[in-house]
């Protein structure tokens, strides 16, 4: 019975999920994960009650129903002892005294006992079903709200929060926040039960009632102390459990690195340290449970013995009947368990408060992207203008500083620069995934920040460096969020242009084949080509490729790029690239170093006048040349 209401927890915090689409991001914020110290506990309790009050305000109907059902259960629990006492007094003892059984009274007694049990069972069913409905509704509501918020908040906010944390906000935190709702109606029913029981005992005998008034508050107080001592230690154990799982996740994810550097023993030691800490924390929890559980069981038993002792004194004085004595003793055994529900609610409150505060932090996070009202209504290739763009992930270390350039409609611009120069950040600014600290990005003369919601993504498509495919069909992945249904011919045309037609038509169910984590396995190059087709299918007026063909082999890549340039250009193209073939296709090159534009011009112009650019793009040839001259030198020497 102890854990019946808690059920089985199907959600384990999911940590370290694969994050493929992450681009450079700044120092992640670490939220301290042990939320409450003992000295803050009263306020945590108050917060927990506040969370409950919010749930009651949100679902008043279901809550009232659950409480009423629980009250029925409470009253009937006392009622069952009364029925037994009545049966003893009116049916059992008279029969033993007189040696004659009265069938009528006996039948009434039996019906009474079964009838009370039936009503009590209905109360239990109603309470459990309604409490469940309420708890799961609140959980689902929080999850919907949190994930809506994830979709609403700007990418910069996502970059500040680790994936694992965001996932546990939506899963385990949303669960913890509403966990006390399961035992809450029961606890309220228990209060009703206690009041009725107190009344019932008082009616029997004030002296016996005194025993009850000593024993039950003692049980409640013991419970209170129990839960207050237990819950911080439970939270610590929970925390360690998450850490153990985090280490396992990371370590198994990096298994190849662990192996190739021969670090298995060190990893095992790292894991064992946390596993041992978890063991110690669990033993501490166990010690407290081990102490309080037997005490909580002994107390009502001692109460019954006290009732027998005091009761027989009262019996001698003629103040109570034997039947009444039995009724009170039975009541004590009945109340012993339910009274613990008060402790269960108490136990969940701190966890609930902590979970809710983390959910709230997401829900109240500000910085949603503001949208304007302008439409990007033109057709055909767009003009892109970047003006004095400055952006810093971390204050005072700008990734981009004063970047300015223009791309005329239908032209292709190559962004070139060393690793870490800020190219990917620039591509994100160009489709307004993030907003600049200073400066502007203009599409056909309209600042992206003034465009209405959905306008930028309809006009401009970015293919990021790292491919992210949804757990969906090929068609679903390509059509993704387009305003109108896309005809198959257009999908196939895009696949053809992305050099993906061949392998997609070879998939078992063609466009309807499921891909993504649980779908068909695709190579890195194939995934990249699908991501490219996803952009091409919407014939964007501006296409931005962030090193989007790095896993595609050279011949296929050149076919893709030639395809893009054939016919009349439908898009203005910005491409981040290292390969000379890609760069050479561009009408113009912007060369970046440390977030600044060092030079811009045609490939040939930059080759002749920009040293950094020359060093970068001709690195392979120079190496080759050096080696050739070295070999020649050696030959001369030989």
């Amino acid at each position: 019975m102890t854990r019946a209401w808690a059920g089985i927890n199907p959600l384990r915090p999911m940590i370290g999920m694969k994050a493929e689409s992450r681009v450079p991001r700044p120092l992640p914020e670490r939220i301290p994960r042990v939320p409450s110290e003992p000295d803050q506990r009263p306020s945590v309790m108050r917060q927990g009650l506040g969370v409950l009050a919010y749930a009651i305000r949100t679902e008043p109907g279901v809550f009232t129903g659950a409480v009423l059902a629980s009250a029925v259960y409470g009253v009937m629990t006392v009622g069952s002892s009364w029925a037994l006492g009545w049966a003893t007094e009116h049916a059992v003892l008279p029969a033993f005294r007189t040696g004659r059984a009265t069938q009528g009274t006996l039948a009434v007694a039996a019906l009474l006992i079964v009838g009370v049990a039936l009503v009590k069972a209905l109360g239990v069913i109603g309470r459990r079903v309604l409490a469940g409905i309420m708890q799961y509704r609140m959980q689902a509501r929080s999850r919907r709200e949190v994930s809506r918020q994830y979709l609403r908040l700007p990418l910069a906010w996502h970059h500040r929060h680790p994936t694992g944390q965001l996932l546990s906000n939506a899963s385990s935190d949303a669960e913890a926040a509403w966990a006390p709702l399961a035992p809450l109606p029961m606890a309220i029913g228990v209060v009703v039960m206690l009041v009725v029981a107190a009344g019932a005992i008082l009616l029997v005998d004030p002296v016996l009632a005194l025993v009850g008034f000593l024993v039950f508050p003692a049980i409640a107080a013991l419970n209170f102390v129990y839960q207050r001592r237990l819950s911080p230690r439970m939270m610590r154990a929970q925390q360690l459990r998450a850490e153990v799982s985090e280490i396992a996740h990371e370590s198994f994810d990096g298994a190849l690195v662990v192996k190739t550097l021969g670090r298995e023993d060190a990893e095992a030691a790292r894991f064992q340290t946390r596993a041992d800490a978890l063991r110690d924390a669990n033993i501490t929890v166990g010690r407290i449970r081990g102490l309080f559980d037997p005490l909580l069981e002994a107390l009502p038993t001692l109460g019954v013995l006290a009732v027998l002792l005091v009761g027989s004194l009262r019996l001698a004085g003629g103040d109570v009947t034997p039947g009444e004595l039995i009724q009170v003793a039975y009541l004590f055994t009945l109340l012993a368990w339910p009274i613990r529900a008060l402790g269960w609610v108490l136990a969940e409150l701190p966890r609930s408060a902590a979970g809710w505060s983390r959910v709230r932090a997401v829900l109240t996070a500000s910085g949603s992207m503001e949208y304007g009202t302008a439409r990007l209504a033109g057709t055909g290739p767009a003009t892109l203008e970047v003006r004095d763009l400055t952006y810093a992930h971390v204050p005072d270390t700008p990734v981009l500083a004063g970047v300015t350039f223009t791309v005329r409609p239908g032209r292709t611009l190559a962004l070139v620069g060393p690793t870490g120069a800020g190219k990917s950040t620039l591509t994100q600014l160009m489709v307004r995934l993030i907003d600049p600290d200073r400066g502007q990005v203009l599409l056909d003369g309209t600042d992206l920040r003034e465009a209405a919601q959905g306008e930028v993504s309809a006009a401009a498509s970015l293919v990021p460096q790292q491919t992210f495919l949804f757990d969906d069909t090929v068609r679903g992945n390509l059509a993704l969020g387009t305003r109108d249904p896309v005809p198959d011919e257009r999908i196939w045309a895009a696949l053809r242009l992305a050099q993906a037609e061949g392998f997609v038509s070879a998939l078992p169910r063609g466009l309807d084949t499921r891909i993504g984590e649980r779908g068909a396995t695709l190579s890195g190059g194939q995934r990249q080509r699908l991501a490219l087709a996803r952009a091409l299918v919407r014939t964007p007026r501006m296409l931005i490729l962030d090193d989007a063909t790095s896993s595609v082999d050279a011949q296929v890549e050149s076919r893709i790029l030639r395809g893009l340039r054939e016919g009349s250009p439908e898009s203005t193209v910005v491409v981040v690239a290292y390969r000379m073939a890609t760069i050479a296709l561009a009408d113009e090159v912007v060369y970046l170093e440390h977030g600044r534009v060092v030079d811009r011009g045609t490939h040939d112009e930059l080759l002749t006048r920009c040293r950094g650019y020359r060093d970068l793009v001709t690195a392979y040839e120079r190496e080759e040349a050096e080696r050739a001259s070295l070999d020649a030198g050696e030959e001369v020497v030989a």
């Binding site: 689409s21 996932l167 550097l261 063991r279 669990n282 949804f470 993704l480 890549e557």
Partner: protein, 591 residues
């Protein structure tokens, strides 16, 4: 899919093997069980006390107060003793089970790392993690609560049953008759509940997957304006989960009160028959009333039985999964102390007629024989699927060949201790996986004793100081989970620095600089060759320059080395390499 061993073991055999794995479980078990038995006895004190008081204390016209006082005192003493036994038992149980489980976790974790990459890759990461976390937790729930409940409940049922038979066999038959149908019904209920919860867990998995897309795919969702579509998918998954939870709750709500209802029927039956027996003088009033209390002792064990059965099944399933890991042989095993430790220095590698086939698959490498001399730069080229990566994995002993031998310094790799092998041969994979921590932590990973100065020196030698200076906190920059805070190219830089600092005699690069800019790549390649240090470098090449710079090129096609020799020589000949070269140059230089 999975290649982890799934032994078809019976539940009992699983329990026995599981217990044998963690000797801590059995430490002091007899005493713990004795304490549990004593703690159970305490449960029947109330019915006995009631019976004694009613039958003997209240027998006459006036209560026998001295007798009642003595009886109550004895009973109180028994209650206190029970509580003490309960406490001691709990503490012992928690200590032994938690210690056993911590050992089990550690063993499981270590064994996962001992499995070959082949075996590891057949499992989803999350599934492997749960074998050392969630699966072990399921065992602990049973060991600390369910298993004990079985003992206590069975004890309680036995004692209450025996006591009933002693008081009145006729009434005992009534009670047993009422509860017997539950023995058949409860397991069925339990199956319903278990099935409902399996469904809840599956729906929860779907829901998390849907929500995780909104986090992991945040950039793509925004770039393609697909917020609405994603929100709809999440709503559907959240709703399906909620519905499944509610369904499970309803099943529990309707099945749970059954036992108590049966209890009430039993009580009514006992009252009806008991009074008749009493009138016939076959039972005393006290005994009859004690019976009513004894019935309550029947209810709680049966109510928990459903859950305990569920726990027991979960524990056995959990144990099976953990044992599944441990039973799977470490197919690429460390020879341990029996293995050879090779001295450091210039390294010779020989492949002798090496073949390889993935389990159940066709051979992907056939009769590969090649000698790699010390201090050489080798480039491995070939189309996707030609066997390059397999060659690399065999060379670093991530897998063992299915035919032939791989030798370093004339010793079969299978005879070399891992500690010695990993010190001499290091591979840098394409995906530069980083651990959550600072840049310095990651670079130091292969050589934990390295100082900050060593790291700074290494970064200078690799020509990466410029890049490092541009980072907000230099070497102390946190890289984020899996290195997410860095770009793909930057992660590769760190992974290379990590291997460089480990300073192996042979460095194998598997397209390790594919996302790095050309100038940096050339600089890195020079530093990493380190031929002056006597190091051998093997590169799986994706760019022409790497092949050109190599002393020797190995050309793979269809799992065979079809050509080998220096670039200049190969390019002059007709063949696979010349074709490859032609396509490379056209891609790199045409416009």
């Amino acid at each position: 899919m999975t290649s982890l061993r799934v032994e078809e073991r019976s539940a009992i055999a699983t329990l026995r093997t599981g217990l044998a794995l963690s000797p801590e479980f059995r430490a002091g078990l007899p005493v713990t069980l004795l304490l549990a038995a004593l703690a159970t006895v305490g449960k029947v004190i109330v019915p006995i006390a009631v019976q004694q008081v009613v039958d003997r204390g209240l027998k006459g016209s006036a209560p026998d107060l001295p007798f009642i006082r003595t009886a109550v005192l004895w009973c109180a003493a028994a209650v206190v003793l029970t509580a003490v036994c309960g406490y001691l038992m709990n503490v012992r149980l928690y200590r032994s089970t938690e210690s056993g489980l911590a050992t089990l976790r550690g063993k499981g974790f270590r064994h996962v790392h001992d499995l070959s990459v082949l075996t590891q890759n057949t499992e989803r990461r999350g599934a492997l993690v749960s074998r050392v976390t969630g699966d072990v937790d399921q065992i602990s729930t049973f060991m600390q609560w369910g298993g004990l409940m079985v003992i206590v409940s069975v004890g309680q049922l036995l004692i209450a049953g025996v006591l009933m038979a002693v008081y009145s066999w006729q009434l005992a038959l009534v009670v047993w008759g009422c509860f017997l149908p539950l023995v058949i019904v409860l397991p069925r209920f339990q199956r319903w509940v278990a099935r409902a919860y399996t469904d809840v867990r599956e729906r929860a998995g779907d829901m998390l997957a849907a929500i995780s897309e909104s986090v992991v795919g945040s950039a793509v969702i925004r770039a393609y304006g697909s917020e609405e579509r994603t929100a709809r998918r999440i709503d559907a998954a959240v709703h399906a989960h909620q519905r499944s939870q509610t369904r499970a709750q309803k099943i529990i709500a309707f099945t749970f009160p059954t036992t108590e209802l049966v209890g009430a029927v039993a009580i009514a039956g006992v009252v009806l028959l008991g009074v008749r027996l009493g009138v016939a003088g076959e039972i005393s009033a006290g005994r009859l009333i004690a019976f009513l209390f004894l019935i309550t002792l029947f209810i709680s064990p049966l109510q928990t039985a459903t859950e305990v059965l569920n726990d027991a099944q979960n524990a056995v399933a959990g144990w099976r999964r953990v044992l599944g890991v441990l039973d799977t042989p470490a197919d690429v095993a460390d020879p341990g102390p029996a293995g050879q430790v090779l001295p450091r220095g210039p390294i010779t590698v020989s492949f002798r007629d090496v073949g390889f086939a993935y389990p159940g698959g066709p051979p992907v490498l056939h009769g590969v024989s090649v000698d790699i001399a010390p201090r050489t730069r080798i480039a491995v080229v070939g189309e996707t699927g030609s066997g390059k990566t397999t060659f690399a994995k065999l060379l670093t002993r991530l897998m063992d060949p299915t035919a032939g031998q791989v030798l370093i310094d004339g010793v079969d790799l299978r005879q070399v201790r891992f500690s010695s092998l990993r010190e001499r041969v290091v591979m840098v994979p394409q995906d530069g996986f980083l651990f959550d921590g600072s840049l310095a932590d990651n670079i130091r990973y292969g050589r934990p004793a390295a100082s900050d100065e060593d790291i700074a020196l290494a970064m200078t030698e690799l020509g990466l100081t410029d890049w490092l200076d541009g980072l907000p906190a230099g070497l102390n920059t946190p890289v984020g989970q899996r290195g997410e805070s860095l770009s793909a190219g930057e992660r590769q830089l760190v992974a290379l620095a990590r291997a460089y600092l480990a300073d192996p005699d042979l460095l194998l690069l598997d397209e390790a600089t594919s996302a790095v800019d050309p100038a940096t790549e050339v600089r890195l390649a020079r530093a990493l060759d380190g031929v002056t240090r006597g190091r051998t470098a093997v590169s799986i090449a994706h760019r022409l320059s790497t092949a050109e710079a190599a002393d020797e090129v190995l050309v793979f096609e269809h799992g065979r080395i079809v050509q080998r020799g220096p670039h200049a020589e190969l390019v002059a000949r007709d063949g696979v390499y010349a074709d490859l070269y032609a396509s490379w140059t056209s891609a790199a230089r045409t416009s």
